[in-house]
């Protein structure tokens, strides 16, 4: 069953005196419970696509249908975007408007904090957190919405390599545990292949190629299959850029 379906979606922006097609004639189907990595060079329309899926931007034309049912979208941005005036707890509670009972809310909060190892920072303000902790708190805020669909826009791009690897592993175990539908935007080929069950390659606002990744989790980044998939995707990206 498909969770997200985009058909002939177009979105353009007017920048000074010229029009930029951020997404053009884009069609994609994402199955329920699939981890999709969207990859492409900077400025190719990945973030715009994510905003359209999340309902933050309206497409100029085309249809976007999301089989939400009771599902909510959880958004994780490139920067944590935590509210400076709120503690970690208050930031997370902001995403829990759908839970009316206080006890249920506290239970969800406690579970998410424990999952992300943030329990002892529950009353900390964002300025008291390190970069990695702040990004985990942002992920926690999205998870507190109990989303069926998690939309992530290069969430680990500003973190150091060690922390990035740690959060990638945490995300994979979270995905396997909760069976979420995840759309993960990145410009790192290795990250896209490490995380996704499907890699969607974009360039110039268009869908270039979809690649299924059949490797078992947790993935070994030095295995020949992993390296070969990365090379193949890299080649597609380079070729499509050369064509443009």
């Amino acid at each position: 069953m498909s969770d997200i379906s985009l058909s002939d979606v177009n979105k353009s922006f007017v920048l000074r005196d010229r029009t930029v097609d951020a997404v053009s004639n884009f069609s994609l189907t994402i199955e329920d419970g699939t981890f999709v990595s969207v990859i492409g060079p900077s400025g190719c329309g990945k973030s715009t696509l994510l905003s359209i899926i999340g309902g933050l931007l309206k497409p100029d034309s085309g249809t976007v249908s999301i089989n939400r049912g009771e599902k909510r979208c959880g958004f994780v941005f490139q920067e944590p975007r935590l509210l400076n005036s709120c503690t970690v707890k208050e930031n997370m509670i902001l995403g829990m408007k759908h839970i009316k009972s206080n006890s249920a809310r506290n239970q969800v909060l406690a579970d998410v904090l424990e999952l992300l190892e943030l329990t002892e920072f529950i009353n900390a303000y964002p300025y008291q957190l390190s970069g990695g902790m702040a990004q985990r708190a942002a992920l926690g805020r999205a998870l507190c919405r109990q989303p069926g669909i998690l939309l992530m826009d290069e969430p680990f791009s500003s973190l150091d390599a060690m922390l990035r690897k740690k959060l990638q592993n945490e995300l994979v175990s979270l995905y396997l545990k909760k069976n979420l539908t995840i759309v993960f935007v990145t410009h790192d080929v290795s990250e896209a292949v490490f995380l996704g069950r499907k890699v969607v390659i974009m360039n110039d606002g268009q869908l270039i190629r979809q690649q299924k990744i059949d490797l078992e989790y947790p993935r070994n980044t030095s295995s020949p299959e992993f390296i070969s998939l990365c090379d193949s995707i890299m080649e597609t990206i380079s070729y499509s850029r050369y064509q443009v």
């Binding site: 920067e79 005036s85 709120c86 902001l94 805020r141």
Partner: protein
């Protein structure tokens, strides 16, 4: 250690003051020594004179400052919401901003008489622009990415104002309030020197006419100390209201 840092410079200044007056044997009428000013303070406090004048000035400054907040902040919110309207008023407001409030004293006395109204309007004129412009700039510069984040959490307009707009604009608003607080004292004392029968400004002017230089010095020091205390008080209140602002705790 913190106390030592705070009091080192004032203690050195008072010592230098004392040393200069005594070493160069300066006329006490022109430059009274610290002990004479201290005696004047003692006399003013003992006779309840200083308390009375400080109380009058404080109430005036507080009233003017509060009224300005009630006018300037909603106006800034209005112009933030209706940005296009602001472009009509921008030039006129800049014109008004360039006119020093003290230059308005003759007109204010003409319009409102020499009573409280003219003094209050002078304080309002002096406080208005720091509060209005800083609030407006604080609101206009709220990070739009945070508002997008608010959309992603399905926050209502009221929730966005409560959780995003006001806290994000708070640093600029606080700066405006502090500037306005300083301005309110400056304008008030000037107003009291021209037309008043009480207040610190009046006390200084009266002492000058009576050739009591030590009282003039005591009055000036009182203004400085009160300004400092009010600023500290403002910072303490803000630190309580905005616990996430590290700068306020220093």
């Amino acid at each position: 250690m913190r106390l030592l840092k705070k009091f080192t410079v004032p203690v050195i200044v008072i010592f230098l003051w004392w040393a200069v007056v005594h070493v160069f044997n300066i006329n006490a009428f022109l430059f009274p020594p610290p002990e004479k000013v201290l005696a004047a303070f003692h006399h003013l406090i003992e006779k309840d004179i200083l308390q009375k004048h400080v109380c009058v000035s404080f109430i005036r400054a507080f009233r003017g400052f509060s009224i300005t907040m009630l006018i300037a902040m909603p106006l800034a919110v209005f112009f933030h919401i209706f940005k296009r309207t602001f472009s009509f008023f921008d030039g006129f407001l800049n014109f008004l901003r360039s006119v020093p409030p003290l230059a308005m004293i003759p007109l204010l006395i003409l319009w409102f008489g020499i009573g409280e109204a003219s003094k209050l309007s002078l304080i309002i004129l002096a406080c208005f622009f720091p509060i209005f412009l800083n609030t407006l700039s604080g609101l206009n510069n709220v990070d739009s990415k945070l508002l997008v984040m608010g959309d992603s959490l399905d926050l209502t307009k009221i929730e966005k104002i409560r959780y995003i707009m006001i806290p994000e604009a708070a640093p600029a608003i606080i700066t405006g309030l502090r500037l306005a607080l300083g301005n309110s004292w400056r304008a008030l004392v000037a107003a009291e020197m021209i037309a008043a029968s009480s207040g610190i400004g009046y006390m200084i002017l009266d002492a000058e006419e009576m050739a009591k230089t030590d009282v003039v010095y005591a009055g000036i020091l009182t203004i400085g100390i009160l300004g400092l205390l009010m600023d500290k008080m403002c910072l303490m209140i803000m630190a309580k209201l905005c616990p996430w602002m590290e700068d306020l705790k220093r």
